[in-house]
Every structure is written in structure tokens, then in C-alpha cells.
């Protein structure tokens, strides 16, 4: 009786698992937590993306990814934040510490509970997206987004934990709501971020949901921007920062949630988590060897504080001013692979376009490029028009336009609004620049001052397109005299 009875490893593991199980049961039985966190993302996705968005094609993987990120926030913020605040107030946290609950089990159980909730939300969204929106979700994409969402719960757990360590339960509800809804909006989860005023777009990288959203979009091959390594790094920094702040705060209140040897516990937990995360990360991005490599260099350099070697810029554009005038009877360009008609069938849509050279160009020149086609309702962001690619496989070749100041061309058309689209940056699916212009029966000039479009990586331009994103129906327009000066 006098000797210490050792806790067998199997019982210790069972204690951790039990803690997770009971945490999950507790969360499921708490309707004010379970109902909003599980069903709001589902409901919003159904209403806004599937029902209202059906004209534009609810099957867009963009909204699927974004509502998934929205779903990541609730379990972390409310499951961790509010519950921690409440249980601290009720004395339960104190009792758990007096009892021999295993080191860190409280925090681990809560985090895993939140991740399980997010896993459930992601599976439900997937079911909706595939069954009702016929989203072209591949098994690989599904696995990737699942991993991104589940791991993406952690930054919000850390933020929630910080809130829960600071204030009472009632205040925690209010504060978490104040974080939850505005951040969803400002991170572009509900509407494309481009519709926000410029300064809000500029500060978007402050929000963890923005970074997670870019990773989620990337996981399903939807348009996204920035480097995944930076997004991952930003999320890790946010998680660590808020975790440390919360732990300090709890420690000063006498709570030792990591047991008698917090550093050892933390090292074990972080080590395990890092291995799991690395495996998942490798699974998510492993298929893209180059990206994974660049992500690794980015992360490593960020960790050591040395700048990453400058990524290769595109091939410098020759001095030639005129890209194409369509007078020689072809759609060829002075450089690059030329203009080609493009629809959105590659992305699962049913918009299409054809192009032909016609007589009677702008300024009584010989020829022009006419594009006709129709916008369909297959996906949320349809597109049809004509695309110019630099040398190399489409979207892979990079061209450096940073030596140019303006892009001009002549346009006429059926009176619809058309747009010029510039796709740039290292990420394959970066959010393109979309510049609207009017058309009419007569030629008129469209002019872009390149310096005004800072969001475009002019050193690395992948494609320039002219076309339309809707409304649904047939269209016809022509362009001529495309010049970069």
C-alpha cells in the first residue's frame, strides 16, 4: 500500500481517450453549441450556395471550400473558448486539477472534440456538394480538404482558448461571436473578397480564416492566391501565439493544464501533433512535388530568418509594343503561344466559346479577332472568351511584364459588359485580376495602367483573357490591336 501504484500505459491511454469521448458526448448534448456549430455551415451552404447560387452553378468548389472554413471556426471558438470560460467559472477546471486527470488531457480532449466536429461538418458539406450540386469533387480533393479543415480547427481553438482564459462564460459568447462573423466576412468566406473596399482586402492576411480559406481553395483546385507555405506559417504562428498567451493567463490564475512538467507534456503533444500534421500535409500537397519543395524552403527560411531565394520571374517580354493586331490572318502573337478560345468545361462548367478572324478591324485595319459563344449555368463562376498564354504549357509558362506600363486594346461587342482577366503569381489558381469594360457596336479603346493593379504579380503573368462571366446566354465580341507599352 505504501509503494506508489504505477499507472499502466494502457490505462493512461484509455484515460486520454475517455476524456475525448466524454468531451464529444458533452458537446453533442449541449444544443446551444452543437446546433449552431454543426448546422450553420450546412444551412448557409445550402441557402446561399446551393439554392440562391444555383443560377451560377452551386457546384462550385469555391463555395464548398469556403463554407468548410466557416465550419472550422465555430467548434474551435465556441467549443474551446466559451466552454473553457464556463468550466473555469464553475470550478470544474479546479476539480480536474485536484483529481489525477492526465497531463494536458483537458486541452487535448477539447481540441480533438473540435476537430471531430469539423470532420463531421466537412463530411456533411461534401455530401451536399456531391449529391445536390454535382460538384466535381475528386477523392484526392476530398481527402485534402478534409485534412485542411480538421487541422485548420487548431488556430481557432487557440484563439478560443485565449478568450476563454480571459473572460467569463457570458462575455466569451459575445466575444467569440464578434470574432466569428466579421472574420468570416472579411476573409471572403461568404462573398469573393474582391468586392470589399481595398483597405479591407489589404488587411485580409491578418485573419487566420483568410489563410485557411486559401489553403482550402487550393486543396480543391479552386482559384486561390498566395503561397501555401506562407499560409501554413501564418496559421502556425497564430496558433502558437494565442496558445502561449492563453497558457500564461491560465497559469497566473493557478491553472496547470499541462501538469507538473508543462514543458515535457508540451513537447510530447507538439511532437505528436507535428508528426500527424506533417503526414497530413505531405498527403495534401505531396502530389505536387514542386510546390511542396517550395513550401518547405519557405517554411525553413522563415524558421531560420533567412530570406527565401527569389522565385524565378517570368521570361521578360520583348521590347515589341504590339502583342497582336490580327491583320496577318492568324491569332498568333508577337510572343507567347497566341490567342485561343476558352470555355469553362475544364472546371466542370458548360460555357463555351469559338473564335475566328474577321475583316474590318479597329481604325480601318485589316482584321480583328471575334469571339462568340454562350455562358452556361454549370458552375458558380462561369467564363468564356479568349485567352493568351506565354510560352510553355497553358498556365505554366510565366512572363515578366514588369517592364511595361500600360495595356491597351480595341474592343466592340453586343453591349454586354466584358472583362479583361490577368492570371499571375506562383500559385496556379491565384485570384485573377478582373477588369470590367463596356462594349458597343463601335470600336473603342480599353486602357489599363498596370501600376494601379498591385494585386497582380506582373513579373509572373500566366495568362491574359478577354471574355465574360455572365449572365447566362449567348455573347459576341471582338478585340484588336492589343498593345503593351
Amino acid at each position: 500500500m505504501s509503494a506508489t501504484v504505477n499507472m499502466p500505459g494502457s490505462r493512461l491511454l484509455a484515460a486520454y481517450l475517455g476524456e475525448i469521448r466524454f468531451e464529444f458526448i458533452k458537446a453533442l448534448r449541449t444544443p446551444q453549441f452543437a446546433v449552431p456549430t454543426l448546422f450553420f455551415p450546412i444551412m448557409f451552404y445550402t441557402l446561399f450556395a446551393l439554392a440562391l447560387g444555383s443560377r451560377g452553378g452551386g457546384g462550385s468548389l469555391t463555395s464548398f471550400a469556403n463554407y468548410g472554413v466557416f465550419g472550422c471556426m465555430g467548434p474551435g471558438l465556441f467549443g474551446f473558448g466559451v466552454a473553457l470560460a464556463v468550466e473555469r467559472e464553475l470550478g470544474l477546471l479546479t476539480l480536474k486539477q485536484a483529481l489525477p486527470s492526465p497531463a494536458g488531457s483537458y486541452l487535448i480532449a477539447r481540441a480533438v472534440m473540435a476537430m471531430l466536429f469539423v470532420g463531421l461538418i466537412t463530411l456533411m458539406l461534401m455530401t451536399l456538394a456531391v449529391l445536390f450540386a454535382h460538384a466535381p469533387l475528386t477523392l484526392g480533393q476530398a481527402t485534402q480538404i478534409f485534412c485542411v479543415n480538421v487541422l485548420g480547427t487548431l488556430p481557432f481553438c487557440a484563439i478560443g482558448m485565449f478568450v476563454g482564459s480571459l473572460v467569463s462564460g457570458q462575455a466569451a459568447v459575445a466575444i467569440c461571436n464578434l470574432i466569428f462573423l466579421p472574420m468570416s466576412f472579411l476573409s471572403g468566406l461568404w462573398f469573393p473578397i474582391g468586392i470589399l473596399p481595398k483597405f479591407l482586402v489589404d488587411i485580409a492576411p491578418t485573419w487566420p480564416a483568410y489563410h485557411l480559406s486559401q489553403l482550402a481553395l487550393r486543396a480543391v483546385d479552386a482559384p486561390n492566391s498566395g503561397s501555401p507555405a506562407i499560409h501554413v506559417l501564418a496559421l502556425v504562428v497564430i496558433t502558437v501565439l494565442f496558445f502561449i498567451l492563453a497558457m500564461r493567463r491560465l497559469q497566473s490564475g493557478g491553472y496547470r493544464l499541462l501538469g507538473a512538467r508543462p514543458r515535457r507534456t508540451l513537447a510530447i503533444v507538439t511532437g505528436t501533433a507535428a508528426v500527424v500534421a506533417a503526414l497530413l500535409f505531405a498527403g495534401v500537397f505531396g502530389g505536387r512535388a514542386t510546390d511542396a519543395a517550395s513550401a518547405a524552403t519557405g517554411a525553413a527560411s522563415a524558421a531560420t530568418g533567412t530570406p527565401a531565394p527569389e522565385s524565378p520571374a517570368g521570361v521578360a517580354v520583348p521590347q515589341v509594343v504590339e502583342l497582336s493586331n490580327f491583320d496577318a490572318g492568324s491569332a498568333a502573337t508577337a510572343y507567347g503561344v497566341g490567342w485561343g478560345a476558352a470555355g469553362d468545361d475544364m472546371r466542370g462548367g458548360n460555357s463555351h466559346a469559338t473564335q475566328q478572324l474577321v475583316d474590318g478591324g479597329a481604325g480601318s485595319s485589316k482584321g480583328a479577332l471575334e469571339v462568340t459563344g454562350a455562358i452556361g449555368d454549370g458552375i458558380q463562376y462561369p467564363f468564356a472568351g479568349t485567352m493568351f498564354f506565354p510560352q510553355g504549357p497553358p498556365m505554366q509558362g510565366l512572363m515578366d511584364f514588369s517592364g511595361k506600363k500600360t495595356l491597351t486594346f480595341q474592343a466592340r461587342g453586343d453591349g454586354r459588359r466584358y472583362m479583361l482577366m490577368v492570371i499571375s503569381g506562383l500559385a496556379v489558381e491565384g485570384i485573377p485580376l478582373m477588369f470590367d469594360f463596356e462594349t458597343g457596336p463601335d470600336w473603342h479603346e480599353v486602357r489599363l495602367d498596370l501600376a494601379k493593379f498591385g494585386s497582380v504579380d506582373w513579373k509572373r503573368v500566366r495568362a491574359i483573357g478577354v471574355g465574360t462571366m455572365g449572365p447566362v446566354g449567348p455573347f459576341r465580341f471582338a478585340i484588336d490591336d492589343v498593345r503593351l507599352e
Binding site: 501504484v5 470544474l92 483529481l99 489525477p100 486527470s101 496547470r256
Partner: protein
């Protein structure tokens, strides 16, 4: 009784802002005993217990549990805890709470046997939040002992219990003691300490005032209690130097005195018809009042 010390505080000081909660406090809990820690509100009982549980660290002095710092989980795997101000999750069932707490221990009791011992079968499947205050206390008591503890901390275990439930809980406490479990009990009910405790530690103003068996404590207190029926006016008797305190209970005088013999002589002299005379040594309640009052007087 073996004198092995299971838990101890040595010269512990702890200050919370302006309040000196513990001011050089010593306490030892020995194997096999039930130690009742008594003291008025604010005496430092909760702080002392929190130190033994590792919830607070002393500013000065040392707290030990099974020979190590109470923060060590190995030490806490040998204790059970019932706290006073704690709300368990309302949506969980007592059965689940028991499974969870039992999972923290290396060799817990079989849950069904604990439930049967405390006759809690009917409560097991109901949400904890739907139980009455007394039922919640019983579940908390079950949680405290389900891990087969060597040392059990019970903070006001019978608050909110009806007489029957209290007697039942006392019975289990006695059984546990008989089985070799040691218990630290804090209580406001002096009769609870009187009924259960092997040893009593009386605290006041963050210090140990005295400790010993209930008998020793009572013996150390010079007060005696004289009860009688008399024609004398209460105010007259109250003014006598022999009288410390006098209270009327209907027609009976309840007199607290240090000199019972002298008081009795005077009472019989002044009132030959004095009737129903009873003299007894002070109970723990009177002893406690006297001890803590003296301590307070000393301090002020």
C-alpha cells in the same frame, strides 16, 4: 494507529493581496485517521486544503503529499477529492462521470460496487443537472471515492443532505476508515466532526490554534455548561463574575462558566428551590467558540 504522515504543510505562508490566508501553518495527516479541520469562515481552511491538493503553491514553507509535491500526478493518483464549490457538467450522467473519474486511477473500484454502496442506482442514468442538491452531493461523494484513494479530502460533504442521507454517508465514511482509508474533512457541522473525527485541527486567522482528539480538545477547554430552572432573574445571574455567558431556553437557564462548583454554591444559596440541575463539560461547539474567540482576541 500508525504514525506515517501522508500529507503535510510545514510553516506555510500564503498571502492573497492584503489578506494573509495562511500565516505559518503546520498540519500533518496521518495514515488511518480522520482529521477534521475546523475554523470560522476566513480562517484559511480552504487555502490549506488547496495547498495539499496542489491547487495553490505556498509563498513560504512546504506542502507535501505522499512525500512529494502535491502537483505530482503520482501523488494525486492516491487521493480522492470532493470539493464544495464545483458544478459538474449538467448534461452528463452520473454513470459517465464515474467512468471518467475512475479512468484517472490505476486501480479504481468497480463502479457498480460504488453505486451499490451508496445506493445511487436510481440516479445513474439521469442527467446530473436534473438531480437535487443532495443527490448531486452524493454523486460527488461517489466520484471522490471511486478511485480507491488512500487519502480522501472531503470539503463540507453533507451540506444539503437530509438526515437520512447524512447518516448513510457517515456510515460509509466510517467503513472507509475501517478499511484503512485516511480522510481530511472540513465541515461547519461540529457534530459531524464530533461524530467522525479521530483528531481535530482548529484554525483561526491562518494559524493552527490547537489539534488533538475531540476529547482532548474538550478537556483543554475550561468551560462547563450548567443548565437549571431557577426563580432568579436572568440579568441578575448574568452579572455574576462566575458567569461567562447565559442564555434562556424557555424557562431553563443555560450558563457557560469556568467555575462550575462556585457557581452552583451561589445558585443554591440565592435560590434554594433551584431545580433540574445539569452540569456537563463543554461540547466541541463551545470549545470551538472559546478557542477561536481567544485566538481572535489575542490577535486584535
Amino acid at each position: 494507529m500508525s504514525q506515517t504522515t501522508l500529507a503535510s504543510l510545514k510553516g506555510v505562508r500564503k498571502r492573497f493581496g492584503a489578506v494573509q490566508a495562511l500565516d505559518g501553518f503546520d498540519l500533518a495527516v496521518n495514515r488511518g485517521e480522520l482529521l477534521a479541520v475546523l475554523g470560522p469562515n476566513g480562517a484559511g481552511k480552504s487555502t490549506a486544503i488547496a495547498m495539499l491538493l496542489g491547487l495553490q503553491s505556498p509563498d513560504e514553507g512546504e506542502a507535501q503529499l505522499f512525500g512529494v509535491a502535491p502537483q505530482e500526478i503520482d501523488a494525486r493518483r492516491r487521493i480522492g477529492v470532493m470539493m464544495q464549490e464545483v458544478a459538474l457538467p449538467a448534461v452528463m450522467r452520473p454513470q459517465e462521470l464515474l467512468e471518467q473519474v475512475a479512468s484517472y486511477y490505476p486501480v479504481p473500484y468497480d463502479i457498480d460496487s460504488v453505486v451499490a454502496r451508496l445506493s445511487l442506482q436510481s440516479l445513474m442514468k439521469r442527467p446530473y443537472g436534473k438531480l437535487s442538491g443532495g443527490q448531486k452531493r452524493q454523486v460527488q461523494f461517489a466520484l471522490s471515492l471511486c478511485g480507491r484513494p488512500e487519502l480522501l479530502f472531503l470539503d463540507e460533504p453533507t451540506v444539503g443532505l437530509d438526515v437520512q442521507a447524512r447518516e448513510a454517508l457517515w456510515k460509509v465514511i466510517r467503513e472507509l476508515l475501517h478499511e484503512g482509508c485516511s480522510i481530511v474533512l472540513t465541515t461547519h457541522y461540529l457534530e459531524e466532526a464530533e461524530a467522525l473525527a479521530d483528531r481535530v485541527a482548529v484554525m483561526a486567522r491562518g494559524r493552527l490554534v490547537t489539534s488533538g482528539s475531540v476529547e482532548e480538545i474538550r478537556a483543554n477547554v475550561s468551560h462547563k455548561q450548567v443548565s437549571c430552572v431557577s426563580r432568579l432573574a436572568a440579568d441578575t445571574v448574568r452579572a455574576w463574575p462566575e458567569v461567562v455567558r447565559l442564555e434562556m431556553e424557555r424557562d431553563r437557564m443555560q450558563i457557560t462558566t469556568r467555575r462550575a462548583e462556585a457557581l452552583l454554591v451561589r445558585l443554591f444559596r440565592e435560590d434554594p428551590e433551584l431545580a433540574d440541575v445539569e452540569v456537563r463539560r463543554a461540547g466541541l461547539a463551545e470549545a470551538f467558540t472559546e478557542l477561536t474567540n481567544e485566538k481572535n482576541k489575542e490577535a486584535s
